[in-house]
Symmetry: C2
Subunit: 323 residues, 2 copies
């Protein structure tokens, strides 16, 4: 059994907990938290304060760092990599080289493997981008996101004066997705690729026209998109928009000779973004343990793992039944 720790018990941490329960070769041995452990209730695993992590160094095969990218992981992953093999889902694209270097130093010093930036984007989408380009070098890769909830855009809506609560869905423009898959000539712009759909609960008596205008004119977040605004009640928001669905598509289209085109599509449709991300992080935990068992150490990414490393099956099983 792979002994797994979860570091951080928010949406992603709970998603990873569900995922570990689905994997017969894994057991959750501890959840680390910055809160008072007595206030955290898991589905059964013991809870320890992050300050007590060192006591678990010999009892954990891999630690899944489930904090946020904005501030948590940049410190959490190097700290955990000093004690354990680790996995994180660091997704601030511009800072990945810097994060890799810091984690690599910590992991090499302690002799552990630290898999960074897993999940689905970065993560599975990244893997498919590299795969698509490797098999179709003469082509173009296009990524569409959604339909799904954008947390950052939902937060931006909530900061508007008069907004009580809100949820924002990002949707790919289906006609553009179809055109890219078919290789039709289509201009790829912010507006042609995605729309933004807002469900907003306003304060009683708020100026709805002003709120809608502020949303649609908000630079970066909404101004460059076709944005729709729907005002709904708090009850409707709770009843119909409680989930955190997401997904997207990576399309690689390339030519293998003159006039001969091939298309590789990879698509995710997720009822729960954090549960699926947790599932990927858990599988990557298995891979980190396998890499470490081969004597590797340092930071790694999804580009450094094999399918055999990710699978609970033996190579013999995989060859006989999955090829």
């Amino acid at each position: 059994m792979i002994r797994v720790a979860i570091n951080g018990y928010g949406n992603l941490g709970r998603g990873a907990e569900q995922a570990i329960a689905k994997n017969e070769d894994m057991e959750l041995v501890v959840v680390f938290t910055r809160r008072d452990p007595a206030t955290v209730t898991t589905q059964g695993a013991p809870v320890a304060h992050v300050d007590d992590m060192p006591a678990w160094a010999d009892k954990v095969d891999v630690c899944l760092n489930c904090g946020g990218s904005a501030t948590d992981l940049i410190e959490q992953t190097p700290a955990a990599a000093a004690l354990f093999n680790t996995v994180d889902s660091f997704d601030t694209h511009a800072r990945i080289p810097e994060h890799f270097a810091a984690v690599d130093a910590a992991a090499k010093a302690s002799g552990h493997v630290a898999l960074i930036s897993t999940g689905w984007d970065p993560g599975l989408f990244s893997m498919l981008r590299v795969l698509g380009e490797a098999v179709l070098p003469d082509g173009a890769t296009t990524t569409f996101w959604g339909p799904g909830v954008s947390q950052g855009h939902s937060d931006a809506l909530r900061r508007i004066d008069g907004v009580v609560d809100a949820k924002q869905y990002t949707r790919p423009v289906e006609a553009t997705v179809a055109a890219v898959k078919a290789g039709d000539d289509v201009e790829l712009t912010t507006r042609s690729m995605h729309t933004r759909e807002c469900y907003v609960v306003a304060e009683e008596g708020a100026d709805l026209a002003r709120i809608e205008r502020e949303i649609k004119e908000m630079p970066n977040y909404f101004a460059d998109y076709d944005t729709t605004v729907n005002f709904i009640t708090a009850e409707e928001l709770a009843a119909e928009h409680a989930g955190i669905p997401h997904g997207g598509t990576v399309v690689r289209r390339g030519h293998t000779s003159d006039g001969v085109a091939e298309t590789v599509n990879f698509e995710l449709q997720l009822d729960s973004n954090p549960e699926f991300t947790g599932s990927v992080v858990a599988a990557m935990g298995r891979a980190a343990v396998r890499l470490a068992a081969r004597g590797e150490s340092g930071a790694r990414t999804v580009f450094d793992v094999t399918l055999a490393d990710l699978s609970a099956k033996t190579s013999q099983d995989l060859r006989a039944h999955y090829l």
Copy 2:
């Protein structure tokens, strides 16, 4: 530059030749053939008889074995693996363990890496089946093939008395694909998953009703499917059915918790089956060279290569631009 040899110059060998030309880090140094080399014209590479392979042992980094699975590869790959790192696209699923063992012995004895059963199925589809199960262990994987040309079924049509030429397209039943992706309750049977569409050129004066009946009642090939038969002229066959398109879809749908489902779809739409297969084989050639450079030897499969092994880019580039 990776010095590549092609062993066998049929449709797949020519597809691999196109692919090598698209990869800036590869050069085609020789094409091996069982025919008289003087009768084989490539796009520029020298041609040598297979009996002269040993003379190329030090001049080739990887040999792409492009023979057929029925009889060629079972001998071709072990023979080539005694001299070179190799890649093949062996696709007789039931004999893969046996082929792996024979190739493994030859490659280990000579200190080379031999990647077997690459291409898209087996190959990319196999990778996605393992990836899908690793990230969604509680679920089901379904593979659909087509729309595309089935060579075996086209051959079966041509063996019918009164048939001059023919082409058979396999098509997934779109409603069934949609149901599987949506998780709707659908019975997966031979008939519910694929249809077979036949374009047949008959001899003048042949009994078309008899031919159509023989096709539709042919066991294994057509009897279990909804099969349509279209009689066309040799000119129409040449004008409208000259290509070798193919493709398919691997769907993994699983639950991450009660009532919460996630779907992973991987889809290929290929204008040219042999050119795309050749492209995958070429990328796998790069991976075989990388594995060998790390000191590995023996038989390997697509489950044993990383995305970094497949890519022409450096790991640093991949982290900075593809994650």
